[in-house]
């Protein structure tokens, strides 16, 4: 009876060693780090969207400039509130010096942030707001202003009248709710001739769900004249639906955020405007702000990273180009 016990142990140990060996690699660069280097955890809402990659790039730039160690880690499933809470808790346990967090929910992440502050780990919030005032600073786009910019662009191109969709992203995501509010308020206030055919439909978390929603809306209202979408996945999903139904270019379409496909859409004239944020700056300033706090320097409670409108005409100017096609080469993993 001894041999099976032995066999199992050998297999188990072998497996564990294999994991250890293959898993060890990515952490190697940090192995030589001295104990004094500040360790900053940067926690995005997800890791696959272009937007978060830009934030990552910005954080890495700050890492190099400030001589700190940035640990980049999102929830295992994109947009899963419970898993993001787990990530924050695990970083608190691991004793990082500071946390930069893009909260998936303005309420659900309050308690983990309180826990961090209780453990003397300061937290800087980026991208989306958090209720309460436990965090040290809030570095984000003025999202409301982004919605206003989009509404004005759409209103001007439609010459103040037309039938449009306001496609929303997801409830509880504070940043997109503010964009939608900025858009809605501006359209109703400044362009009374514009009719909102749809204003309470949610595109959901993925390109696929946005695609389906837009397709269904287009078949319900084939005479739509304008569309606004508040983030990258909803913009891309809607773009695909417009292209499929041969409405792209005919319908005035203003979206939010950028990706190579969206930039191509802008160049082809399928998209008439993209409100773009500065995610690289957000990642950069997020890390810079937390380091300033850790080094005892004063910081602003709210830091705006700015929005601009990219159109076919201005998309090749150097500053817009840098925002539309951010340099992501510094990200290694």
């Amino acid at each position: 009876m001894k041999s099976p016990v032995f066999k199992i142990l050998v297999i188990g140990l072998g497996a564990a060693l294999a994991f250890a060996a293959c898993a060890k690699k990515p952490s190697e660069p940090s192995g030589s780090e001295t104990a004094k280097t500040l360790r900053i955890a940067v926690i995005p809402k997800g890791t696959t969207h272009e937007f978060w990659k830009s934030i990552h790039a910005g954080a890495i730039r700050a890492e190099g400039e400030l001589g700190v160690k940035v640990i980049w880690k999102g929830p295992q499933k994109e947009d899963d509130r419970a898993q993001q809470i787990t990530v924050v808790e695990d970083f608190i346990s691991s004793g990082v010096d500071g946390i930069v967090l893009a909260p998936l929910d303005d309420r659900a992440l309050m308690r983990p942030v309180q826990d961090a502050v209780r453990e003397k780990i300061p937290v800087v919030i980026i991208d989306s707001a958090l209720q309460g005032s436990d965090y040290a600073s809030y570095v984000a786009t003025d999202n409301y202003k982004g919605g206003v910019l989009a509404a004005r662009r759409l209103g001007e191109l439609l010459k103040g009248r037309g039938r449009i969709f306001l496609i929303r992203y997801q409830e509880g995501s504070a940043s997109t709710v503010q964009r939608e509010a900025g858009f809605y308020d501006t359209v109703t206030k400044e362009f009374p001739g514009i009719v909102l055919l749809v204003k309470d439909q949610y595109a959901g978390a993925t390109t696929e769900t946005a695609y389906q929603l837009a397709e269904n809306l287009i078949s319900r209202f084939p005479d739509v004249e304008g569309v606004f979408t508040p983030n990258e996945s909803s913009t891309f999903g809607t773009l695909r639906a417009l292209q499929e139904s041969r409405l792209a270019g005919k319908v005035v379409f203003v979206g939010f955020d950028s990706s190579p496909k969206l930039v191509q859409g802008l160049r082809d004239g399928d998209i008439h405007g993209l409100v773009i944020q500065n995610p690289a700056k957000m990642g950069y300033l997020g890390v810079k702000t937390i380091v300033a706090i850790l080094r005892g320097e004063p910081v602003e409670k709210v830091i705006d990273t700015g929005v601009v409108l990219a159109t076919k005409d201005n998309m090749d100017s150097p500053e817009i180009k840098a925002l539309l096609s951010p340099d992501l080469t510094m990200i290694k993993d």
Binding site: M1, A82, T86, D90, S94, E171
Partner: protein
């Protein structure tokens, strides 16, 4: 049931098999100097335990279902539905205890319907619960008005607090609830007639029926109990999030099933143990925790957990062949 006539070593191995995996995972991170000091702290173990509560409660019920030869794909949707119901009730001004009860009973009702459909319509559990997965998720979104429900803070949110009140509890009340129910379910499975009947149904349903067991009743009861655990798990999810979120826990049913399988449960029924399942839950939680502490990217974690599932089941087969 030849398992009871095992030799000493074989039985010990069967009992401690899952523990070897858990110890290996803990040892793996405990040996990495970068996280060693932090990983082995009591505070970290406490936080891992709290993170395990939701999957653990779901897995208690899933263990019964898997032993009985079934499967429940609607577990995660059921958890989301119960969390939404709880938040909704608290928001509507119901007493917290009533809200909890409603959440748990909603879960139980979904389980009961699952069991009823499986037995009365004679459908494969996979299909019934796959349908229920959509129904429960849709119902959750409908009740929540397609958004999350912000409920006022009550003592319900203390259930999953890492610093419990009163402090002599040491662990979050949710953890104690899991321990309590785990013991209860282990006793139920091992020492009660109903427990042995579940094994009989899972090992060979036709024989069990010929022996005079009311297999349909047993199955309905198993699904209903499992539903109640999902409901309780949903209450804990609400307690942790402080909001009722209909989109929470998407795909969690696979984590729950994986925990049972890692712990020695067989998808063809008739095998599994509560202890093994709980160890399975902890293995996955510790892996997540350790990987985050190391700052490893998510894909490494996903690959490791995937590999663990296969290795665990392979080990289990090996154990069977030799015992």
């Amino acid at each position: 049931m030849s398992r009871q006539r095992r030799t000493g070593v074989g039985r010990a191995l069967n009992l401690f098999g899952p523990f070897i995996g858990l110890l290996l995972v803990i040892a793996l991170f405990a040996l990495i100097p970068e996280v060693q000091g932090r990983f082995l702290r009591a505070a970290n173990f406490k936080s891992v335990a709290t993170q395990s509560v939701i999957v653990a409660l779901g897995a208690l019920g899933m263990t019964l279902i898997i032993i009985s030869g079934g499967i429940d794909l609607s577990a995660a949707s059921n958890i989301a539905l119960a969390s939404v119901i709880t938040a909704y009730a608290i928001n509507a001004g119901a007493a917290p205890i009533l809200a909890i009860l409603l959440g748990v009973l909603t879960g139980g009702l979904v389980g009961l319907v699952n069991g009823g459909l499986v037995t009365r319509l004679r459908l494969v559990p996979f299909i019934v619960t796959m349908g229920m997965m959509g129904i429960a998720r849709g119902a959750a979104k409908w009740i929540a008005g397609n958004q999350k429900i912000d409920a006022p803070m009550t003592w319900v949110n203390e259930l999953m607090s890492k610093s419990p009140r009163p402090p002599w509890l040491l662990l979050a009340p949710g953890i104690w609830i899991v321990i309590l129910f785990a013991v209860a379910m282990a006793v139920l499975l091992k020492y009660t007639v109903f427990g042995r009947h579940i094994f009989a149904v899972g090992s060979n349903e036709a024989t069990a029926r010929l022996c005079g067991l009311r297999t349909n009743q047993i199955k309905i009861l198993v699904y209903a109990i499992s539903g109640l655990f999902c409901g309780l798990s949903g209450v804990m999810e609400f307690s942790r999030l402080t909001v009722g979120d209909p989109t929470v826990a998407v795909g969690l049913e696979l984590d729950i099933i994986a925990a049972v399988v890692i712990g020695g449960g067989s998808l063809s029924g008739g095998e599994g143990s509560i202890l093994g399942t709980m160890v399975g839950v902890l293995i996955m939680s510790f892996l997540r925790n350790g990987c985050t502490m190391m700052g490893w990217p998510n894909y490494i974690q996903e690959i490791i957990i995937g590999a663990i599932i296969i290795v665990a089941v392979a080990l289990d087969r090996l154990r069977h062949r030799t015992a």
